[in-house]
């Protein structure tokens, strides 16, 4: 046996695969255990060898960045091994995500809870940016929650390094409701500000308990944004009319955030406003956000262990049921071990699911990215 194969076989032996818990177009997720200590893990098996261009870009991105980034608020990649021509990512086991928590109507959020989640999200994001990595797909269901309450940024299938000067990036990134206007206008040269916009939308969603800017199409997304925040002027956002896909979508007046977020403190609204500034260069950075007065004001952020959690823990269920409810809407290989829980919500509240977000989930991975 080759040295490489031998090393791989040893890695493989460290992990035991249990039942399948979810499936997407690019990956199957299993629950698993570490052989020596029975620690729970999630094993994401990425199907390789079915793509005409070889190893799939999102798998490459996910592995590339998770291999390097080690942070409390970023999902931990414990190991990688291959089984025949499958790539297996061993990830720390996280049983819920922020979307599930937002949607669980039996949970009550305190202002301190929202502050705590925001701080953890910004910490994870700041670390990505400190490592010159753009995430490009932040949304509540990519923010996973560990059993101790820690929030972890997951799904690096769309991540990339900062571009060198003059190199184009694709604008077909970030799930629509969390996508900033510069991407909707087709900008191919952008920066860390795109992720900050997404976090702003998540912040608003935590306060509203419903998506803040739910556009139905890309065009409608711009309209939805402008309806909420006013149509930008040349002064608000210099040069935006020159962006490749610029189209005027109507004039909407700017309404104060206060009108919608009646319960928020002035500090909270100030930070939210800074995340949602049209001019990307003026948008607050993740690092500055962490130093914003909102986080230092009372109440203190909730200790992670006290944050609301999804109460119903679904035990392992027969495989057929999972198979019948494959989540084809998850973006890329971003299926997580949470699938059974999501399934449960589907069964109990179909209306919720229909009016919910799947519309915005689908990203076109067949497109060539430069």
């Amino acid at each position: 046996m080759d040295a490489v194969e031998k090393a791989n076989a040893e890695r493989q032996k460290r992990w035991a695969k249990d039942q399948k818990v979810g499936e997407g177009t690019y990956a199957v997720v299993y629950r698993g255990r570490e052989a020596v200590n029975q620690r729970k893990v999630a094993i994401k098996k990425i199907k390789v060898g079915q793509f005409k261009d070889g190893l799939d870009m999102s798998a490459i991105r996910e592995v590339k960045y998770l291999r390097e980034l080690h942070h409390q608020n970023i999902i931990e990649l414990l190991d990688v091994f291959s089984s025949k021509t499958n790539l297996n990512l061993v990830l720390e086991f996280l049983d819920s995500d922020l979307e599930m928590i937002i949607k669980d109507r039996t949970l009550v959020f305190l202002p301190a809870d929202i502050k705590s989640w925001m701080a953890m999200t910004f910490r994870g994001l700041e670390f990505c940016h400190r490592n010159f990595v753009l995430h490009r797909d932040l949304k509540p269901n990519n923010l996973l929650i560990a059993s101790d309450g820690q929030l972890k940024i997951a799904d690096f299938g769309l991540a990339r390094d900062f571009a060198d000067p003059g190199y184009k990036m694709t604008c077909q990134v970030i799930t629509r409701w969390y996508r900033p206007p510069e991407l909707l206008y087709g900008s191919r040269y952008y920066s860390t500000a795109v992720d900050v916009w997404s976090v702003g939308c998540i912040f608003a969603e935590l306060m509203l308990r419903t998506p803040y800017l739910p556009g139905e199409t890309d065009m409608d997304q711009l309209k939805t944004i402008f309806r909420a925040l006013g149509t930008p002027t040349e002064e608000d956002w210099p040069g935006h009319t020159k962006l490749p896909d610029y189209v005027p979508v109507g004039q909407f007046p700017r309404t104060p955030l206060r009108d919608l977020f009646t319960a928020a403190t002035a500090d909270a609204l100030n930070l939210l406003g800074k995340c949602l500034i049209y001019e990307p260069r003026k948008r607050i950075s993740a690092r500055d956000a962490l130093h914003h007065p909102y986080f230092f004001a009372l109440p203190y952020p909730s200790h992670p262990s006290k944050l609301p959690k999804v109460s119903t823990q679904t035990p392992s269920r027969p495989l057929e049921e999972v198979d019948g409810n494959v989540d084809m809407n998850a973006s890329g290989p971003g299926v997580k071990a949470a699938a059974p829980n999501r399934l449960k919500r589907k069964l109990t509240s179909p209306g919720d699911e229909l009016s919910g977000r799947p519309l915005a989930r689908r990203l076109d991975f067949t497109q060539k990215r430069v």
């Binding site: 040295a3 399948k20 870009m57 490459i60 592995v63 230092f296 004001a297 060539k368």
Partner: protein
Amino acid sequence: MIAGNTSKDSAEADNSPVKKKNPLYEASTQYRNWRYSPERLEAVRTQLNAAAVAKIRNTFEADEPGSSANVAFLSASEEHLLVKLYVSKIPQLCGHFHFPEEVEATAITYLKRFYLKNTVMDWHPKNVMLTTLFLATKTTNNPISLEAYTSNIPKTSASDVLDLEFLVAQSLGFEFAVWHAHRALWGIWLDLQSLTDLPEDLRPQDIYEIALKHVRASRFTDAELIYTPSQIALTCLSIASPLLSQRWAASKTASSSISEPLSELLKDTLGAINAMVTQNGHPPDIESVREVDRRLKLCKNPEKVVGSKAYLARIAEEERLSERKRNKKAEDVRRALGEGADPFGSDLSDKEQAKRLAELDDDD
């Protein structure tokens, strides 16, 4: 939300107690898994070569006793020579495709790393080189379609590139991120502008170009497996302009709390890199490589030569093993289904069955 207008000034608790922080470079896989001492590098290659020779010899003997006696197997340094030749092909291809510097440097790193886990007697560097370059276009976010890639390289099919892709990725430990010296050189060049006593006319642009040439030359060497990108970049600058590199180094201090000035600390390191780059920073002599390549045809692992007897035998054996595994799984499931009829055992077997089904689904 509960009004909170207090403690706006209590910020900046950032640098909490004097906890020793770890430099970010030490989180990288490059630092953790691809950093060798010169001796270790040598040992890895020697061991790898010896193991390969022993194995191939066995295969030959199994096929026809006594047949390995006259085979002149490659030595570790001969293997290395061949790899080096194919390192030199990558810049040529990159120029052809107009790939960015990042792709070129990454592909070369992958190729070198691959041969720290594999031997050329198993995998010929020609194909591995094509694969590492294709993989590098993807990992650095400059992907092109396989079709566009292969159609621009003579006598290359899609399978020449893809067949080895997984093996390459696996050999790299799926560690795709690489820090390069050319970026560090760019950074030094920018940072030189912070030195107020160093006016523009003392740092002409062509010095940068010369230093960059040396960085490219360093890719033929083992420097990146031993030293850090910034050290390589600084050395390359010092070859182009000792003055500039000294001035810049003098403006930096070693963070490792040693009172020793940085230039003193790095003296040996820079000297060693300098020797490497100036002595070995070039493609190998074509004639000597041709000789190695000729001998390789005679001593390569027959199991890896598509169509050979040994290759077919290995494939057949693998097929047989996986067939047996599949049968066993199917049998397990059938048995589990049978047990499911037992009214007292249903609970357990349901779970068992689910597990087995999961395993069956697993096509490995």
